[in-house]
Symmetry: C2
Subunit: 504 residues, 2 copies
């Protein structure tokens, strides 16, 4: 076997966190920047993560009473303008279609032609077009609740794109529901936040805090925005999913009305909620290390890779036959409702090189099998989540594979949670707050701070201080009880504490 | 029970075929035209058909060695222009993004602002952007074959949209592969045509003819286009899927080059192939009748609907409890690898009205259960594919449900095949050809003609005659052996026969 390089990823997290992130993506072959400004290409290994995300979330949506549908990619400008705050929120980042054909000009070149009467916006989100359909579909209380989800691509023009985290085009799901009462719409908003939190924690092994956004951080047009916030390894916060209570704002703007049991006409209460390919960015930054990607087994496209080790052609055919058998046996194991996904990489390649390929791709378990292992009826087991490998009897490994994967899944969650706890503080005075968010000399330049729980009153003074520190209020945790205290920015009395952090 | 209306869909196929098609879609609640020009909204029942299409095709693609990836929605104009025939083919139907934000003008209104240096085309198909990535990814023969599929939305500006058949935005999959040799690329092109044919026939119960397009009907930029052609109930042909052998046209235009074993640099051979939401239009028109949608069980979102029949509240609770049990039992049945999908519709609604709802939605089997059926331990079984219903012992129905569904699936295929055979002719002279494609007085105005197998030589004379008759060559069947004959348009000798038909 080759000697392992010191770390597979250069730079390390400590050396240059943003660049480490890019290099992990490259080394795992997840995605790359395309020649189209701000747009990414998601490669098969990255797509495998999104495919699993879709499959698992989709089932959760169906289990909570939602149906899928599909709405147009384009939104007429006039639709977007119906809700004033909404259009203001998205006007600066709209891709706009203005023509519908290419025509040869006098210069012999092709130019946009066939100007549209009304420009079309490539959807940045679909409240306005889906709302227009809801207005048509909903007449009576009998048509409510209406609970729809859409899997789609959306476009928000980004000046500083970063793969998965911030791209001009991204993929997501957007749920849109309409209800007869505010109470029911609130319940829906809360329920979908729980669905997101469960997915983040159980499938992606990312601990999250459920909370409500402060007024300044709300979705444009919402009465309230709920969020799940996760801590990345540079201690910044990442908003991993949001669920919006839209009140009657969109239903008034779009005339989503219904007759109740008494024949009275009312505006419906609506919600919307979304999770996107950004979540893959969160996954990468929550677990990966200086050797590359680390994947929780439940989201990994493949849970196990088998690497045959041999020196001669004779050994090769014997070892590969043995590995094929092992693969078949493992694929019979049902892991969280699906057969285990196993790769057997039988390519001629140096053993060390091949092993590092799968380390960098984050496959949870590597099995190395050579002639001696066959003789001993054993497997050599390497875990991606720890620098630990061991020999195990073949039968024992097969019997324990599912449990071992669950152990890895749990370990990743616990590790991320311990990291978050370690970098979370209750802070009651401004000096400490400022110090918390100022890089120390001893720190890696990009890694400092964390989650600060502080009493606050939302004022311009607070905004000024936060702007200077590049810190934002992430959320007011739903679990918080009112506690007497003073706003750390203004000294005013308040019972409300929020989490403050630098963020993505 | 209410008396059934004469037919649930008005007009009937005979009365007005195109309008019948729209009404079937409406009655089954599959989709509707959106307020966005040329774009459709796919509603949950229609989305269920697409979801099954995706699931089944996706597995077939993976089983034939393809991986999924995702590429940008936008294509820079210069990319599209690289292949001359290609851009010419799509220039007239491009949605063009020219600006990236909205800004308030002097009139106080929002206007497109931030003009792009280079206009972006919303992808009408992705050969050029995927080719640009392939050029980057492929260096050596070891990188080949590269076999990628993408699930995506595409836009082709349509002047006369029709739901599913022809919409400005539609959903599809597009496969793109690169190979070291022409032979291997041809094999891929052929294999994917077989995959499409298998899907159309086995899952959608639509018999298809595999063939090659004539030069005038090829994909812009392809050396050869293979197609599967299906006959609709108005006897028109519908192209249900295409697989293109692109030769080296795109690899030359985009510099997709590789070094072979000897270090010589060559251009790769590429293919592309696609199937779209248009297939749902084919599904509707192949099987539906004057009572609405008819669905083959393997593509149906739900295979069985249970309709409880009761007169009093007491009966209601008893009947519904019984139906819930039955539903659970049926859902334990595995049908083609998945649990049966069963609806229990327990809403208070008149029995006849409810029954017709599911007739119009095309659910393959309806079970009606009332107190007497419970007493007799029986179910009342209605089949959507025939005007036939019967009482069956409950246990026997459960034991036979899968077989019964397969019988329905087979019956729909055979019925469609018999219809196609009935309206297929070998025609050896032009008069007969003209007569075949001329509506008779006795016919319904929209329903005439069929598939005409004719010897032909591709000439301008032929084109003129075809144009006048509004007939097109659909394909030269792959199964054809060369047979001596004369072109029916020019009298020239030829051994080649094509299928001619009116078409969608």
């Amino acid at each position: 076997m080759n000697k392992a390089p010191k770390t597979a990823i250069s730079p390390t997290r400590e050396e240059n966190y943003p660049e480490w992130y890019q290099q992990v993506i490259k080394a795992a072959d997840l995605a790359e920047i395309s020649p189209v400004r701000g747009c990414m290409v998601i490669k098969p290994w990255g797509w495998g993560l999104w495919e699993n995300t879709q499959r698992i979330l989709d089932k959760m949506f169906k289990d909570t009473g939602h149906e899928n549908a599909y709405f147009p990619l384009f939104i007429p400008k006039s639709f977007l303008e119906k809700e004033a705050e909404h259009v203001e929120g998205f006007a600066k980042e709209c891709a706009i279609v203005t023509h519908h054909r290419l025509e040869q000009g006098p210069d012999g070149k092709l130019h946009p032609a066939g100007p549209l009467e009304e420009p079309l916006i490539v959807r940045p989100t679909s409240e306005t077009i889906i709302g227009a359909m809801f207005a048509k579909w909903i007449q009576s209380y009998r048509d409510l609740p209406l609970k729809i989800n859409q899997w789609a691509n959306v476009v928000r023009w980004e000046m500083r794109p970063r793969i998965f985290l911030r791209t001009a085009e991204f993929l997501w799901q957007e749920g849109h529901t309409a209800h007869a009462t505010a109470e029911e719409a609130w319940q829906e908003t809360r329920m979908m936040l729980d669905v997101y939190a469960e997915f983040a924690e159980n499938t992606m092994a990312i601990p999250v805090i459920k909370g409500e956004k402060t007024a300044g951080e709300r979705f444009p047009g919402a009465d309230a925005t709920l969020t799940i916030e996760a801590m990345m390894q540079d201690r910044k916060a990442l908003q991993a999913g949001t669920s919006h209570f839209l009140g009657q704002n969109f239903s008034r703007a779009q005339e989503i009305k219904f007759q109740d049991q008494n024949g009275t006409e009312s505006f419906a209460f609506t919600t919307s909620w979304g999770m996107s390919t950004r979540m893959i960015g969160a996954l990468i930054m929550a677990h990966s290390d200086d050797d590359g990607l680390v994947l929780p087994p439940r989201i990994a496209p493949k849970q196990i890779v088998i690497l045959p080790i041999y020196r001669s052609d004779e050994e090769k055919s014997q070892v590969i036959a043995h590995c094929e058998n092992l693969k078949r046996d493992l694929e019979r194991i049902v892991y969280h409702g699906r057969p285990l996904e196993v790769i057997l990489d039988a390519r001629d390649m140096r053993g060390g090189e091949k092993k590092w390929l799968y380390v960098k791709k984050g496959v949870p378990i590597r099995l190395e099998i050579g002639p001696r292992d066959i003789q001993n009826d054993a497997v050599f087991v390497g875990r991606r989540d720890q620098d630990k490998s061991s020999n195990m009897p073949r039968g024992e490994f097969i019997a324990r594979a599912g449990a071992l994967l669950d152990e890895i899944q749990a370990h990743l969650f616990e590790r991320a949670q311990a990291f978050r706890d370690e970098h979370t503080r209750v802070i009651d005075n401004l000096d400490e707050f400022k110090q918390f968010f100022t890089p120390k000399n001893s720190d890696a330049p990009e890694i400092h701070g964390g989650f600060a729980h502080c009493h606050f009153v939302d004022t311009p003074e607070m905004d000024d201080i936060l702007k200077e520190l590049k810190v934002t209020p992430r959320c007011i945790p739903l679990a918080n009880e009112p506690v007497d205290g003073k706003c750390i920015f203004t000294g005013r009395k308040t019972v409300t504490r929020a989490i403050f952090a630098k963020s993505y």
